[in-house]
Symmetry: none
Subunit: 129 residues, 4 copies
């Protein structure tokens, strides 16, 4: 588990954690059923408060990425992450919209934008789909 936080960022720490764990899952670095560190150990590892880690975990649990197993502790959802439904897709579009609008204003061509997306997809899918 490589967690790299930027304490200067305006992105809250717990969200950075959430995103990095999701990226770990996407990269298949974290496999379904795999255990995550306990809130306390992860917190002390990366030098933040356990409540901050807990908040990240609760978010991930809420979104189906992980679950709290009473014996194994925190584990990546063994059934895989729930597929995107309509609301996820509209959320995705909502998030994408301002990025694309600004890209257009700044003269980033559709081709360049798509290439960037493709290369990011590749980043995660080195380890098969």
């Amino acid at each position: 588990m490589f967690i790299n936080l930027d304490f200067e960022s305006d992105e809250p720490i717990y969200l950075q954690l959430v995103h990095q764990i999701i990226e770990g899952i996407a990269r298949r670095d974290l496999r379904p059923g795999e255990a995550l560190p306990s809130v306390r150990s992860l917190a002390s590892d990366i030098g933040i408060n356990l409540h901050t880690v807990n908040k990240a975990y609760q978010h991930l649990k809420q979104d189906g990425f992980i679950l709290i197993h009473r014996q194994k502790g925190v584990v990546i959802n063994p059934d895989g992450v729930p597929k995107a439904d309509a609301s996820h897709k509209s959320q995705l579009e909502k998030n994408l919209r301002p990025l694309i609008a600004e890209s257009i204003c700044r003269d980033i061509s559709e081709e360049e934008f798509l290439m960037l997306c493709k290369s990011l997809y590749k980043t995660y899918q080195g380890g098969r789909s």
Copy 2:
């Protein structure tokens, strides 16, 4: 100018304003040199605080989307928006990364993702770039 705010969104109002104005520029609905309403009038039009509109305008000015003249008022940057440089692009990648990671986890294929991007590009470029 059609401004549509969602007061129940997680996205701060001033950022919603910023994004919608940028989208207006991308859509060429707002043309370089075109005037924007004054802080006061826009604020009262959409029923929000002066400070909020001002904050949005300051952000847009900071990023080169608009100019604020003491006399002429607020106008869309007549020289167009500064092109993306390396830092913009790395910022774009940073924003895109978690969206793509989550999409992969949720089984949104690269094809589907790219189609979404393309359709958004089309949304803005009905009026040619």
Copy 3:
């Protein structure tokens, strides 16, 4: 707003809060669109920590009972609470099951149980449905 907490109960305070607010909504004591007290004021009113109130509010928000309006603060969901779907109903059954099993063991007849439910329904629906 009448909040009555039992600090001796084994039910967590934030859950007692959640339940009492839901009961307030069911009783139509709290109407859609109506504002709830801020976390700080409610917390000091009932003598608990603001984080505890916040946790209750976050739960209620998550479940669609309330929403955080950027101008009005915390308000009862003006569109009403989302209707029960299959998962809510199976959750309800799961919660009901042990209550009914124990009632059977303790010789509470089906008639008596149903009467209790009916009287509780009446408790809430004095103010029309």
Copy 4:
């Protein structure tokens, strides 16, 4: 005895055990005087800690569902479960109250709720009371 635990549930394992044994008694699957497995054997059977089984048994004993003899081992109370008294009934009401309040908010009609209760009663009373 069919014990089915969900280690990912919010409900503590010992309580799941308690509830399932109570359901077994309600269903008359477990008859008064019938023996239950020893703490050790049940624990190893379902792969949980001794303490957890013990805690469940202590709860059941406390509530009069079972007796724990030093020699005969654990048996379902041969005299049947003590009938509900006023405190049990007020407890039942207290548990039912939030379920009904939420049901009302979520537009589950009294009829639908009562039907659910009836069908649950039937589930247990296939073997007559």
